[in-house]
Amino acid sequence: MLRKFKSLKKTARTDFFTYLGVVVAFIVMFALQQAGALSSSVSSWLVPICCFIVMAVSLNLTVGILGELSLGHAGFMSVGAFSGVIAAMSLSEAIPFAPLRLALAILVGALFAALTGVVVGVPVLRLRGDYLAIVTLAFGQIIKDLINCLLVGYDSNGLHIIFNLSKLTIEDLHMDETGIAIIKGAQGATGIEKLATFPAGFILVMLTLVIVLNMVRSRTGRAVMAIRDNRIAAESVGINITKYKLIAFITSAALAGAAGALYGLNYGSLVSSRFDFNTSILVLVYVVLGGLGNIWGSIVAATVLYVLPEALREFQDYRMLAYAVVLILVMLATNNDRLKALLGRLLPRRKEEKDRG
């Protein structure tokens, strides 16, 4: 058994340990939660951590595997969150079984985010480098502003949606007495039923891992990585650049949408400014600190960096300052040649492998 395991490829072993780590972490945390050993604040972190793990892994697909800098990933999360919330609230009578409704909401969120991904991706992926980065940033801002102008309600006649350019209020939807307001413009969505649970988050993380890891290790993934390493060479061996870029980009968007739907259904109210530029940057920080193209790195970084500022709450004003300093120092340390040489001497085996590779 052990010999068979050792004969596996290195990537397969890494993937195995990634899955194993997530499963073990889930079992431990879930057991602790059921036993009541977690404080209420720690339990409240569990679902957001799952969401941000999915966000980080999906962004890693765009930034690490595809090699295109995206600064608007929170925009897809936002689309997923609001469409998921709309789906969950309007289906509350049709489907009383909560887990099914949650699954449907996540699916709807992923679908709408994927559609947005197509709309954004087709024009954007023609651009390169920093220009692509600024356009994704712009799209993130546009999505945020557009959602701020939405009025959505649901009554016995179905969904009512208007796009609010003047001073309309939720009354202008003209709903009958069974109507419920879902999104009230800049006030966002209120009265959301909290459907998200930790096991649901865990399942979403596992699904994301299955999708992303299988994709990366497949023909598609190799094509995407070939485009990242050398676009011209990839094109010259017959790889359809647009197609593979779009596949990676849309998958990433859909997963972000799913994470958004779960995130949205974890809170009683939701405003679109929660998914602003800073959220995109936050997820990007997870990806870069976890290592570009390194999936388990993203998972660890998302968990640690989500918990760190939360756990430092007692320091209040100083915590974000400390966070900023840590961020700068880590970037300086990981890019320091002298430190790298020192590590190389301490871990000779790793260096050997690298030289051989």
Binding site: D145, Y318, N335
Partner: protein
């Protein structure tokens, strides 16, 4: 007609502020090839320093502005030396994240020093305009902003094209290795670029706060992003491009606010940027460099 004119004028004034910030962005990008996300927060620091000099030390306006410029120049050199210089050889993403770290640091440090409650900035401009101008919506702040922007733009163009240091900057932005071989001190040139960019950010901060007198730790972030957009709009790395991009962006934003919707003004600005980039992938005045195989 009067409404259109007043929209246009406030747009040009806002655009001038964007242009000044974008000039700093574009210079730093041209030479260091990095997106300096902390630039917007240097604006905010400039605003606060000027505010303190005016209100606590009671200094005259011009001295306060100069003090803010000096403080931001020092800050710019300090940031560059401590955070960016060790990463010269690192990948662009590492530098980007460091810049974001610096941005967080400045925002939170400002919040600790000056508090999160917004301060009301007293304008540094004290000029009485004739009645004919104020009737069409020209404020003294707008006039001064536009004038300062034009002066900076002309001065910077002359500096880059005529002076020895400007020539060194152009050489560094084209090819750092070759510039070094020609005896140019690349590190010092980059530091000087950061210093100039930060001094411009201070001016922009003071002008911005004079027109929109609310000063808080996040004051700089949105104008920073917009100015970055302006720089890309005009073609990043190009100085006339940054100027043109800034002014156009200001006008579009102001017209969108006046005629369509205040909530959607930002979205419209960004939508225009996307359309422009799709038609001209290197911005309005940027040079498109074909790839060599």
């Amino acid at each position: 007609m009067t409404f259109f004119l007043s929209c246009l004028i406030s747009g040009i004034s806002l655009g001038s502020v964007y242009a000044i910030i974008a000039l700093g962005y574009t210079m730093v990008y041209g030479i260091a090839k990095m997106l300096n996300f902390a630039h917007g927060d240097v604006i905010m620091v400039g605003g606060y320093v000027c505010y303190c000099a005016l209100n606590y030390l009671g200094l005259p306006s011009l001295v306060s502005v100069l003090l803010a410029m000096a403080a931001c120049t020092a800050l710019g050199i300090l940031i560059e030396g401590l955070a960016y210089k060790p990463l010269r050889q690192a990948g662009s993403l590492a530098v980007l994240i460091t810049a974001i770290g610096v941005s967080y640091f400045l925002q939170n440090a400002a919040q600790l020093i000056w508090g999160a409650t917004p301060k009301t900035f007293t304008s540094v401009v004290h000029i009485e305009l004739p009645q004919t101008l104020t009737n069409v919506g020209v404020s003294s702040e707008a006039l001064v902003t536009v004038l300062v922007c034009v002066v900076i733009m002309v001065g910077l163009t002359l500096f880059i094209n005529k002076s020895k240091l400007g020539k060194a900057m152009r050489a560094c932005s084209e090819d750092k290795g070759a510039a070094q071989l020609m005896g140019i001190n690349v590190n010092r040139t980059i530091s000087v670029t950061f210093a100039i960019g930060s001094a411009l950010a201070a001016v922009a901060g003071v002008l911005l706060c004079s027109s929109f007198p609310i000063l808080q730790p996040t004051t700089g972030s949105m104008p920073g992003i917009k100015a970055f957009t302006a720089a890309v709009f005009g073609g990043i790395g190009s100085i006339p491009g940054a100027f043109l991009g800034g002014i156009l962006l200001g006008i579009i934003e102001s017209l969108a606010k006046g005629y369509i919707s205040t909530d959607l003004a930002n979205a419209i600005v960004f939508a225009v940027l996307i359309v422009v980039l799709l038609v001209r992938p290197a911005g309005l005045l940027g040079k498109y460099v074909p790839e060599k195989v």
